[in-house]
């Protein structure tokens, strides 16, 4: 689920950090910039793996800081398509089952990808697999906190960089409403519609 990504960036080191070893201050700056952030079309950045090349550092007029072009590799969370992962159920809604890995929360398993037949229990707000055997139907509940094994079937990246000032008419009233939808920059879509997938407790023999 993790990949190594080769990146290149210009790192700005302010003068008060000049006493640090260059590699250390560069590592710190890169981690400050990227750790726990989603890079569009790449994934969730975890931490710096190594620095592969440092080009010369320059100081530009008007700015006392040094600028260094750095080639480095970063550890990124980016599961591949069809990968099997194990996570924890965070909750259920009409949209499906929401799963989290702790460090990454935006995973959803839509209703059509659940073990069928499935129904949504409105009272308990939980999805249920109506498992049929010769004895009749067993209702298997997908409770919060349960560990679940699922397959990645899709991913989507949303560019959440701020757009420029909009050209629509500004409202003249004092309080302008911020219609900013909080969209997750990186979402994963999972599926459990195969034997072996779903709650771990459904498939253990003991």
């Amino acid at each position: 689920m993790f990949v190594l990504v080769e990146m290149m960036d210009t790192v700005r080191i302010p003068p008060w950090q000049f006493e640090m070893k260059l590699n250390d201050s560069i590592a710190e700056e890169l981690n400050k910039k990227l750790a726990n952030k989603v890079v569009y079309n790449v994934g969730l950045c975890i931490c710096l793996y190594d620095i592969t090349k440092l080009e010369d550092s320059y100081i530009f007029p008007g700015d006392g800081a040094s600028h260094t072009k750095v080639h480095f590799r970063y550890v990124v969370f980016h599961p591949f398509l069809d990968e099997i992962l194990i996570g924890e159920i965070k909750g259920c809604s009409q949209d499906g089952v929401h799963v989290s890995l702790g460090f990454f929360d935006d995973i959803v398993i839509p209703p059509e990808s659940l073990q069928q037949p499935a129904k949504f229990d409105e009272a308990e707000q939980v999805w249920v697999w109506e498992y049929e055997t010769e004895e009749g139907a067993h209702d298997l509940y997908m409770d919060t906190g349960e560990e679940i094994r699922f397959r990645i079937v899709d991913e989507s990246f949303v560019d959440t960089s701020p757009t420029g000032p909009s050209s629509t008419e500004a409202s003249t009233s004092g309080a302008t409403e911020e219609v900013q939808k909080k969209e997750a920059p990186y979402t994963l879509v999972g599926s459990i519609s195969e034997p072996g997938l779903g709650l771990l407790s459904w498939w253990t023999n003991s």
């Binding site: 990949v3 990504v5 080769e6 990146m7 726990n36 931490c47 550890v75």
Partner: protein
């Protein structure tokens, strides 16, 4: 961005990296921790918490190397071997999930042999292993030959 997919990392490699980094930061003392490092702290803590619950916490570089050597004969793709390494499947159903078109590529004996290799080379949870062995021994006593 130079190469968004330079290499696949196993959970074990990330586990090692984060554990070493955590130790390094602990050793270097707290005074260097500026507020900007909070994101790094959070992601390291959560990722380490997640990976520490997976089989990779019992692995070592030698075990990983032995596993890959043992896998050579089985004709699996890199991604498939990686999943076996990360998950340590114990049942045929899990193998079928991780190996694409396994019904066409693997016979039942081959799946058994894969399971054997996985459970013998990759260590599992020692407590669970003891429990499993105890249950298996009890079952053997139950049906006398």
């Amino acid at each position: 961005m130079k190469d968004a997919n330079a290499a696949l990392l196993s959970n074990f490699e990330v586990f090692q990296l984060l554990t070493d980094l955590k130790q390094q930061r602990k050793d270097s003392g707290k005074h260097k921790q500026s507020s900007g490092q909070q994101n790094l702290n959070t992601i390291m803590y959560e990722t380490l918490k997640y990976i520490s619950k997976t089989p990779c916490r019992f692995q070592s570089p030698e075990i990983v190397r032995d596993f890959l050597i043992a896998m050579k004969g089985h004709k699996l793709t890199k991604a498939e071997k990686l999943q076996l390494l990360n998950h340590r499947p114990m049942t045929a159903v899990e193998i079928q999930l991780m190996v694409e078109e396994s019904e066409e590529r693997l016979t039942e004996e081959q799946i058994e042999s894969l399971l054997q290799t996985v459970s013998s080379i990759l260590p599992g949870n020692p407590e669970e292993e003891l429990q499993r062995q105890a249950t298996m021994a009890a079952e053997e006593d139950d049906d006398p030959e």
